[in-house]
Symmetry: D2
């Protein structure tokens, strides 16, 4: 088994998470990590046994020993780095969204494909044990033809105003995970989007032109209807439930809980809340995501999330944004056609 | 306690159900039942100890001993009978919908009010133990301000083509229960409706200009967003789940099951399906509904479902029908204003 | 369908309950009720439409129009009334236990059998929807050969000192339900009993020679082992859960709850307690119990609970009492043989 | 943070498991592993980056750089190695049971204590997230005074005949985990034991003088009663549920499941079985166990499982074995006093 050498570009929370998870995989090492705040990551890198630290990600790209990179840098750098890496043949794992602009995303995905590199996008939920089980039920035909998909997706706490400002809004930052999951679970493409949003939690969202509560209706090309609800603040913790209803049955996926204990008292039955933080809930999913990326590079195993998947989810997010603004349903094709091209019908 | 004397107009499945449930109440008797197929109900009436049977509902209306009537006849007779009863001072319980035409509904409700009779509409779900508990949580403030309401409402089997033909369509026949429940649970009025529907189960629906699968998004005047999904065929049985998500928490109401038994085997964990039939699920709710009607008549206790509630739910259904047809969100006010008037702002 | 005429002897809480439930059955009427506190029951009887009230139960026994009686009088009168009724051919439903003394119970059961009357004992739990489902799984072979039976049986509140004094103790008063349920679910006979008890709730039990917390181990003739735990005070309500573990699987039966609502808040997940009172939990089971008794009388349908079942449960209770006292396992045969006879092997 | 250097003696399944889990801890390295089948572990050790492999555990004991050892060798070597390690001041983590003979266990525990080494026994369940939550509820007083403790503990498959032969029997091999958990959860000592066992699964157990199904009743010094049921074969997977019932409430701990997905179909509701294998169920508990051991060595943090705990659980197991044989309850003191001494009252 050939050892695979990795570089991580951007070592914030998610970069560190991937770094730590990679330790649990065999035959992989992280050679170099880069961050503009290079001093802030030295201790972490040392504890992790990572030999090289730099403030210039080009040191990683130019290192011929490094096989692949993880892009955990700010979103506005994503496509540039993807294209640079593609041109020199380095494989890329890139956090979502690929970019804020569909044209850029498309060009990056096309560049990756043209150069034959492996490109995987960070939609970690596809690797979650519950959602994988649900996808399996759909593939096995256990629910029959899909009629209705329902996704509940709520965060425990709103992000900071600074984060919101550059996030791209609730659809491109948060619901994009659900748009990807919707496509993955249904196994079809979204044709039309209707979105409704409100500011019910914090006026900061309004001031920044965003909403904190949203509902999105998706019409799939196989007739299925999807409904997603998002909230930036669920006081009881991270709430991620999904349901696929079809001609043969319905599969319902609940949250994961901290433990199974129930306390029965005179006041009723009590149990601890669901896992509160997304890193707890998706802990193992993140490990699986890295395992899948390595398997993609090493063995060419088709990835669970391609660059094209990243692009499609962004199309849906842009359609939702337009629907919210124009107060009517929007065809995804209209979004896509604005940037031209035949990619739309490309098979997944 | 004065005995209350009732007449039932229309003795099909639902008329019989109410008749049997009334037996469990004290101080109430059914004096007369009417049905155009009078021979078909004689045995039932005898077994029930109901002394008089007729094929002419006017026999009931003209009987001065009868205090109140239950209208379980076909929908197109509802408003006429309500108005006749109102004018002679008989109280009325009327099955939903009041009528297929908003103008007729409104006139019947106005006539009832002008004549001071008790008028209650058959939205039985308000009396369900689960939904009552959920309403209580909203009223108590346990979920805080309502942000998102989700209703899942699916029937175990589609009705016959004959039924569909005269049903008024999925929104006026089936989802109307959910529209009423939505208003009840949220405690606010619906301002805008977006509906999407598909024929995924049986082409008969398409042939009859109806859909069998639908999703409706409701915008409430307090900012809350409601999402309802309906299906005419859930193979696992009657599926009625509701969730209210708010600033302080989320209350989730599950189906009722036939029993609590779980069988654990090598193949996994198995339990019997939810109660399959709406009469099983809402068995006790129907009894409570009659108890409430009698309490309304006897003691003037404000009813849980007024004629105005019947009218409002119909407005939402008509808005949903138009949204489906025009493929855009519809303001409920636009529906209402088409038939003129100030009723919209009338308090419940 | 011939109408069956009943008399009820003893109109306390349970006598009234049966009376009210009988109203929901067709083709049955209660002709006479008797109670030594006759004035206390007149209003109830009138509201119920029961024509005759007496303070002498012999008025019921001597009425040739009455087909069957319900014995809801104090336990020390049970066997005497059973024998009197048996000798004049009246069918008997008798509350549990049949008596405090095995000899008396056996003689009453023998007398009933010798005179060919229907005799059913009030073990209502056999009629519960959950336990029936569990029994069905055992009969169907879904759990395979039974290895372990577990019964949790806890009351919400201890009875009064007066009640405890004459109750016969926790095993003969309370656990006897579980002993019967154990035999019913396993479908075998108990050979040996080991019981352990403590006073952990209220010293009154100790003063009266009783315990308030008990554990009983049953060895069945088919090798299965049963474990029952009883408590006189479960603060969260009536707790009745059962589990049958076998070679092919395990069926677990949970409590019934007041509703299915779950409230998720920052403090965790909350739901209302199980049904608190045995009359709520076993409401429908009591109706089924009466339906079964009438079906036994009218059609000779084999009863779910015979006089022999009453006797066997009492044998187990007496064995448990002796085990607690002598601090060692007791063979049920030793209990039985003390009163002589071959009945032990009589098939159910 | 000083790096701690470990040696593992015995590298079978459990030795490897601990080795892999230690990789996830910071500041710890495994220097040497020993096994009599040394060739079989070379590849594993290399993949794990463990520098030294030997067939002689004395190489580990004599290495002054090694701070502590993990004893995962066969049970009959445990006490000898503990004593050798203790005399040269190496800390010891030892798998359960310490030995098959109480005298040996006691001597080993005394030797460890006399030499002041850290000694921790491998009762991994104390580190399980569910049981920790339950213990917390007891400590916090949420269940009040403990009245009844119930442990269900069933394996998915019986071990091989070879394993059974040297296992020490169901109580010393399997139920000993439950005896330890019982003491831990209740926070009291067991005074008396009654055990009942049967061979219901496989006659091999009978031939080897063992049982495959057992029930144990424990009387605690604080009045609480414990009931444990064990089976060597639960077809649906590893079944580990616990319930503590007390004066203020009841806490119930369920199994962990593979996922939260439920499939609702016409045939009922289905979900995947509980985690089938103990390594899946207790995966994180094993990591916590090692973390606790390192914390004990490094910081002197009181261990969750002492040598004394190992001894006490063995006393209960020996009492259960005698109870099964003599068919009567056995006082634990009688077991203890047979080997002499005052240790019984030693506080934990």
């Amino acid at each position: 088994m050939r050892e695979i050498s990795l570089g991580i570009i951007g070592v914030g929370r998610i970069g560190k998470l991937h770094g730590e998870n990679i330790r649990r995989l065999e035959g992989v090492r992280i050679k170099t990590v880069s961050d503009i705040y290079v001093d802030a990551i030295r201790t972490w890198a040392k504890d992790m046994g990572i030999p090289h630290v730099t403030d210039d990600y080009l040191d990683i790209l130019s290192d011929s020993e490094i096989d692949a990179i993880l892009i955990c840098a700010p979103t506005d750098l994503h496509t540039q780095i993807i294209e640079e890496a593609a041109r020199i043949g380095k494989h890329v794992f890139c956090e979502k969204p690929v970019s804020m602009e569909l044209e850029k995303t498309r060009r990056a995905v096309d560049t990756a494909q043209a150069n034959g590199i492996c490109l995987q996008i960070g939609f970690n939920r596809r690797f979650d044990h519950n959602f994988k089980r649900l996808r399996q039920a759909v593939v096995d035909g256990a629910v029959g033809e899909t009629h209705i998909l329902k996704i509940t997706s709520r965060d425990p706490n709103p992000p900071s105003a600074d984060y919101i400002k550059t996030s791209g809004g609730i659809f491109l930052d948060m619901a994009i995970h659900d748009f990807d999951l919707a496509r993955y679970l249904v196994g079809g493409e979204v044709e039309e989007v209707y979105a409704r949003g409100e500011v019910l939690i914090d006026d900061t969202f309004r001031e920044l032109g965003d909403v904190d509560t949203a509902v999105t209706v998706l019409k799939f090309d196989n007739g299925a209807i999807g409904i997603i609800d998002n909230s930036r603040k669920a006081v009881y913790g991270y709430d991620q439930r999904v349901e696929v209803f079809g001609s043969k049955g319905c599969m319902v996926v609940d949250n994961d809980y901290q433990n199974t204990a129930q306390l029965w008292t005179g006041g009723g039955v009590y149990r601890d809340a669901p896992k509160f933080f997304f890193l707890d809930r998706y802990n193992e999913a993140y490990v699986e995501e890295m395992r899948s990326f390595i398997d993609y590079i090493r063995n060419g195993t088709p990835p669970l999330v391609t660059g094209h998947d990243g692009f499609q989810a962004e199309c849906i997010a842009h359609a939702a944004m337009r629907s919210l603004k124009e107060e009517k349903p929007i065809k995804v094709r209209d979004i896509y056609e604005r940037i031209g091209g035949e990619t739309w019908n490309r098979s997944r």
